[in-house]
């Protein structure tokens, strides 16, 4: 049995707060797909991660996740480059609904601050994360691999899960 993913508290806090989230998958021909999420959320026990994708921006990615279950997600704090990558192999998707609205609003507020720290105005962040709830899909997975990806000597260090 692989060791369970145990994320350090500071990384968990960063992910809960709401930083840049980019998700990737691949199709049957091993062609990678990629898009930025417009929101993210963690379960209370920290085991389950949900990210929000705009359907029209992420057609291939959502199709690949549905077909393969594979998802790779990078969380990164823009001002510090503190970065972690999570990987899951049994991701599921659902249409976002009113119950997700508060999460998305909180995420946007956090990102406006994060992006402002690197010198961009809130309009930029709002354009980058623009979405209508009816176009948003929530993708949930339990990470079975995690890696520290902060640039530097420790980049690539496994934080648990499969090697």
């Amino acid at each position: 049995m692989p060791a369970p993913v145990r994320l350090p508290d500071d990384l968990l806090a960063l992910m809960r707060r709401g930083v840049s989230v980019i998700a990737g998958s691949r199709d049957a021909a091993m062609r990678p797909s990629i898009m930025r999420a417009v929101g993210s959320d963690m379960s209370a026990d920290g085991r389950s991660v949900t990210l929000y994708l705009v359907r029209a921006q992420s057609r291939q990615l959502l199709q690949d996740i549905a077909a393969t279950g594979h998802v790779a997600v990078v969380f990164s704090e823009p001002a510090t480059h503190r970065t972690v990558q999570l990987k899951g192999s049994r991701a599921t998707s659902r249409q976002a609904g009113p119950q997700d609205q508060a999460v998305l609003a909180r995420y946007l507020a956090s990102m406006e601050q994060e992006i402002a720290r690197v010198g961009y105005p809130p309009e930029m962040t709002r354009a980058m994360l623009a979405h209508r709830l009816e176009d948003v899909v929530a993708v949930t997975f339990e990470p079975d691999e995690a890696y520290d990806q902060t640039p530097g000597p420790r980049a690539g260090t496994s934080l648990g899960g499969r090697p």
């Binding site: 990678p32 930025r36 990078v74 354009a127 980058m128 623009a130 691999e145």
Partner: protein
């Protein structure tokens, strides 16, 4: 909707906002990683910075397909590049251009010492996808560079001398392109050094100051014959032209006394150096800089490359033109001899340096030329000279016609202008000039 071309999205390739790359391992596990630099190579290719031996690296070697997500730094529009890994370059023009830009990105993002370019991974761009979204309005196009280039082209087309060509380029930079600090350096091929022949915007002209090929942004542009552009100049000694220590102690002819200070900004924030080439040969470097960050974009680089190309062609052409026929010698005010206190000129044969009244003036080929002129003046009373006789004079050690003699004469002329108003060189026609002497000369060896 028309698919964007790579040229349409070059603003996304400036390194302002990091790109993100998805790859896939041989076992089917996808991977996502930030990429500091997606560099425009041409309309079909990009180069990604290879900085770490990481999962991305393993994946593209096993499975060359990758997808990059780019964000426009002003409109926040997303683009996806579907790309295929071809090869890695670890030296040469592309690598050096990227390395310099990455140094700027690293400095800008507080990653100095962490970001280091191990290679330029070159990818074929198979498809560019504009991602639907709600982008902000595009920024208005900046002052028409095409009009500036046209005026530069017109100025250069009228030039009959290297001096006029350099003045024309400086006028374009300052009047049409809003550049405040610029210089042109010419190559001394034998010495592998670059010497300043023109500058603007600095407290001292620095004409005659020298840099080694390979040294700093200017030297790397010369060595690799590629534009080098940094939007956030790092303190890394490699790129800091002004921070350089004085020339190596082991080169005997480069005594500090013969060093003219480099005129450039002490704390530049943006720099762009473009090689001046003609007929496949490096003639020199056109260089601009600014005390502000991110001052020069890819469009400025495009404009400077076009200007440098035209400048190179003009320099080559005016130097290759036949000299004007011999004029009536009698018309010249021969041996005016001058009055007042004598100018004492001292020549050191070891490096052909010439001092006037014990103040350093010039050395090298330009020094040898001056020494020949003043000797001919003192011994034979000559004041009229031709480029041709200088080229044919074995004592000057001019390598061949490719030596940029016009540029050397211009350097000499400008140094005299700045340092010694009583001794001048005036052009009298194509390939001809006059030595004007207002004071008696006293020549000393060593």
């Amino acid at each position: 909707m028309k698919r964007p071309t790579l040229g349409d999205i070059r603003a996304c390739l400036e390194g302002a906002i990091p790109a993100v790359l998805a790859t896939c391992a041989a076992d089917g596990v996808p991977n996502v990683a930030y990429i500091s630099q997606v560099f425009y190579v041409d309309e079909q290719h990009v180069a990604l910075s290879f900085q770490f031996f990481n999962k991305t690296r393993q994946n593209i070697l096993a499975n060359p397909r990758a997808t990059a997500l780019l964000l426009h730094p002003v409109t926040a529009e997303f683009f996806r590049l579907h790309i295929r890994y071809l090869r890695t370059e670890t030296q040469g023009p592309l690598f050096e251009g990227m390395k310099a830009q990455l140094a700027g990105i690293a400095s800008h993002s507080g990653m100095e010492g962490v970001f280091r370019l191990l290679g330029s991974d070159i990818y074929q761009v198979e498809q560019i996808e504009a991602v639907p979204g709600e982008p902000l309005p595009a920024p208005p196009a900046r002052a028409a560079r095409l009009g500036a280039l046209r005026r530069c082209s017109e100025r250069l087309a009228r030039c009959t001398s290297v001096e006029e060509a350099l003045n024309g380029v400086m006028a374009t930079l300052t009047q049409d392109l809003d550049v405040r600090h610029a210089m042109v350096l010419m190559l001394d091929e034998a010495a592998q050094r670059l010497y300043t022949v023109a500058s603007c915007g600095y407290p001292t002209s620095g004409v005659g100051s020298e840099l080694r090929v390979g040294e700093g942004v200017i030297g790397v542009a010369a060595r690799e014959r590629t534009p080098v552009r940094i939007g956030h100049v790092t303190n890394a000694a490699l790129y800091n032209q002004a921070m350089r220590s004085s020339f190596e102690q082991d080169v005997p002819d480069l005594q500090p006394v013969t060093e003219i200070p480099y005129p450039g900004l002490a704390e530049p924030h943006s720099q762009l150096a473009v090689p001046v080439l003609a007929a496949g040969r490096l003639l020199g470097v056109l260089f601009v800089e600014s005390p502000h960050d991110l001052q020069f974009g890819f469009e400025d680089e495009d404009a400077l490359v076009a200007i440098a190309g035209h400048l190179g062609a003009v320099i080559d052409l005016v130097q290759a033109r036949p000299e004007a026929p011999e004029g009536p010698e009698a018309a010249a005010p021969t041996h005016s001899s001058g009055s007042g206190a004598a100018l004492q000129l001292r020549h050191f044969a070891a490096n052909d340096s010439v001092f006037i009244n014990e103040t350093y003036l010039i050395k090298g080929v330009a020094g040898a030329i001056l020494w020949k002129l003043v000797r001919d003046y003192v011994q034979q009373g000559r004041t009229e000279f031709s480029n041709r006789e200088l080229r044919l004079d074995p004592s000057l050690g001019l390598p061949d016609i490719s030596d940029n003699l016009e540029a050397r004469l211009l350097l000499l002329q400008r140094r005299l202008q700045e340092q010694s108003p009583h001794l001048r060189i005036e052009k009298t026609g194509r390939g001809r000039f006059r030595l004007v002497v207002d004071r008696p000369l006293q020549l000393l060896e060593g």
